[in-house]
Amino acid sequence: MTATETLNPDPVMTVADANEAPARRGAFLAESGNLIGLAAIVLIFWVVLTSLRPGFISNFNLFTLSRSLAIDIVIGFSTMVVLATGGMNLAIGSIGVCAVMAAGFLMQGLGLPPLVAFAAALALGAALGWLNGFAIVRSGVNSFIITLASASLYLGAMLILSKAVTFNELPAAVADFGKLRFGGFVSPLLIIALAIGAALIVLFRFTALGREILAAGANPRAAELSGVPVGRVVIIAHTLSGALAGAAGLMLVARLGAAMPSIGQDWLLPSFLAPVLGGTLLSGGAVSVIGTMLGALLVTTIRSGLLVMQVGNFWLQLFLGVILLAAVMLDRYRGKVAERRSLGRR
């Protein structure tokens, strides 16, 4: 609260004799407190929905849920890695559909095996993300404007090249993979999403690159003056975001068994919802991988819940809008508290 706290941190100890646990436990509790709150909200939704419609936890519904959860998680990650740098990527839907249509063309048009086509499509997603990052760093223009433009540009190019024709004669293996279930209701897509999550946890907690992304997001000038190549780091984050958007698109292809030009157009809202609900700061410098997964779970739950309650799709938009607004308010409040705590005043 007061200036003296800032000047004379109390108790004053040097590391040599200090007990490190309290500070670390404090930070851990603050983060896990947020996650527990989010998990509790999800749990309440599940209890209410199950009691109203027991079919909500049928194997079939859980399987459907796990497939769309996987996709929502990866969409959330795609935005999260860019939020980490303090930027945003409005083009993930467009990048996703470009990867989708490229994969469809490579399989149906050129007859390439699915694995090769998927790898090439992921590379395309990464390349489009790289292009975003390159344009942002080179021009110095805000990522909002650059990705707003590239979203339209990528989508337009895709529509011109594909003539908006769906690829629906893909190899059977693709749809079969999408229908695969483990333990009655777990889609392999969910396992892939969780594996990506684990990789991202390692990235942001234990690698030089991940730490540099967060440092560049929290204070680009200070990071630059400490030797972090901020421009390169931002480009890498956008490349990763593009690859993740591509991955989400390909997961949808597996679910639908077809490559459709309409994919990706409803991604923007959930892509922000998942990380922001999960505690990723919009201002950059802090991410929560587990939080993003829980945020995605909430989005999926609401979508599926409205479906089983047979409430129209119109309501979904309204609900998601309200929730994003609430999440942003929460983010702002959290930012203020964090600032007050770290500065000890203001």
Partner: protein
């Protein structure tokens, strides 16, 4: 109008800006307010003009207590000011800016004919060549300064405060300004004039008040009774414990950083100096002299357009900050810890280890917490950094400990050359001494330091040699005897002579440099 300041006190976190300052401005006088950077002049002006509220003490206007809650109150009471920071709206015209808060209206619409006629009247007092219909953003820095002055004049206030009004204008324009000030004085206005330029002060003012460390060092002395030397000694005075920096023998040291005829994209010209191994080379100058910008050029953040820089004897062309750090082992500690130095929301561990993540990463790019801790913890102990743990957010530490985090990160990186910009700005006097001793200590371990400071005692305590910079050029180099009185006099004389020399030799120099 008579303005009286009684026993004013004002503190900011960690700094006492003003401590019991009393001061009186009488009608029909020009009163000079002097002091070193950080002495409290600007804070005092901001209190008088209602931008800050004092913690204690009071203001009296014509003997009646006044309590200003905003600049609007001060203007209403008849006080107008030209601040150091510019307060113009770039996309509005000169005329609109001058009459901004009271644009003349006719039938509810702005009467532009009158706007330009009235603005013209005040502008003509100083510089008739500026068109009132030009957008402010198209003006030079000097012209903007003149518009600011015209704006202050247009309020036709009883008290006029000018905070370094001549810092960016030419001698000719300054003469026109002084003529206006003398006329206003004859009309019975009270004028406060803040300046670093002793010649101006002796030429135009009637009395002088000197502030030092937030206190009055000379109170409204008639200018005739104050010699140049007396003003300077009042400004720089001496007390407080000086850091113990030990014996320094720098004979036969090799040069680690040399600049020859260096010019930069920001307007430095013909910069030449040599930094020797284990030396503390001071770079003194007033704010705006181009010191920070020179540091930026040396670490590859600003383009060098001519001349040669050598590191350990080899010519180098440093293109980026990471290259300066990793290839040439040059680090830079910014004067602005919060905006550029540290990542306040991140823990001590990350803020120190940021410079070594790449070095300690495994082949897969993994950085273990243990590896970070093995580097950070010994440094925390060595620098006596007070923190509950290395996981503490840096934003929660005191200014002195934040500065230790900055130093620790460069020791971790193993820099050989460290540029430290205003190392003790916003740091209390006791910690200041500790930071000074720390800087001396790291040079004994072989680090060479380029020390940028506007703090004269700090400079004379720490530096082995002192370079004096003015208007983006070096104007002097002095071997530091560490005897305060003669050294400070010599440094100040370089700064003031530099002022005259620069104004005569290169009339456009300062503008080109700032633009």
């Amino acid at each position: 109008m008579r303005l009286t300041v009684e026993d004013i006190g004002k503190s900011f976190p960690g700094v006492t800006a003003l401590d019991g300052v009393s001061f009186e401005i009488r009608p029909g006088e020009i009163h000079a307010l002097m002091g070193e950077n950080g002495a409290g002049k600007s804070t005092l002006i901001k209190i008088i003009t209602g931008l800050y509220r004092p913690d204690r003490g009071r203001l009296l206007v014509d003997g009646v207590p006044a309590d200003f809650h905003s600049p609007r109150d001060a203007i209403a009471a008849g006080i107008s000011a030209v601040h150091q920071e510019r307060n113009l709206i770039p996309r509005f015209t000169v005329g609109e800016n001058i009459l901004l808060e009271r644009l003349p209206r006719r039938h509810g619409l702005v009467d532009y004919g009158r706007v330009h006629r009235e603005a013209r009247r005040f502008l003509d007092m100083i510089d008739p060549s500026i068109d009132t219909r030009t957008e402010v953003r198209r003006l030079s820095v000097a012209q903007m300064q003149i518009v600011e002055i015209a704006k202050a004049l247009s309020l036709e206030a009883g008290v006029l405060l000018l905070d370094e009004p001549t810092a960016s204008i030419t001698g000719h324009e300054a003469d026109a300004l002084f003529a206006v000030l003398r006329r206003l004085k004859a009309e019975g206005k009270a004028i406060v004039f803040v300046s670093h330029k002793l010649e101006e002060v002796t030429a135009i003012s009637d009395r002088v008040t000197v502030l030092r460390d937030g206190k009055v060092a000379a109170a409204g002395e008639p200018i005739a009774s104050m010699s140049r030397g007396r003003i300077v000694s009042a400004m720089i005075g001496r007390e407080e414990r000086v850091a113990e920096i030990g014996e320094r023998d720098l004979r036969d040291r090799t040069a680690v950083l040399e600049a020859r005829g260096v010019a930069t994209a920001l307007g430095h010209r013909d910069i030449g100096f040599t930094l020797r191994k284990g030396e503390i080379l001071g770079l003194y100058g007033l704010v705006g002299a181009g010191r920070t910008e020179l540091a930026r050029a040396l670490i590859g953040d600003v383009r060098i357009t001519a001349g040669e820089v050598r590191v350990n004897g080899r010519p180098v062309a440093i293109a980026s900050v990471p290259e300066a750090i990793r290839r040439h082992r040059i680090g830079y500690i910014s004067e602005d810890r919060k905006a550029e130095g540290l990542i306040l929301a991140h823990p001590v561990r990350s803020n120190v280890a940021i410079t070594v993540w790449r070095r300690i990463a495994s082949a897969l790019g993994l950085v273990g917490r243990g590896a970070e801790r093995r580097i950070v913890e010994p440094l925390v102990r060595k620098l006596d950094l007070k923190t509950p743990s290395i996981e503490q957010g840096v934003g929660k530490l005191s200014g002195g400990n934040q500065q230790k985090v900055s130093i620790a990160k460069w020791l971790a990186a193993g820099v050989e050359i460290l540029i430290i910009d205003e190392p003790t700005v916003g740091i209390d006097i006791k910690t200041k001494t500790a930071i000074h001793e720390l800087i001396a200590e790291i040079t004994r371990d072989g680090v060479s330091v380029l020390l940028i400071s506007s703090d004269m005692p700090e400079m004379i305590t720490l530096a082995d040699r002192i370079l004096v910079m003015r208007d983006f050029a070096l104007v002097g180099e002095i071997e530091n005897s560490r005897r305060y009185e003669p050294m400070s006099r010599r440094i100040m004389s370089f700064i003031h002579q530099g002022a005259e020399g620069a104004a005569e030799n290169e009339p456009n120099g300062p503008e080109a440099a700032h633009g």
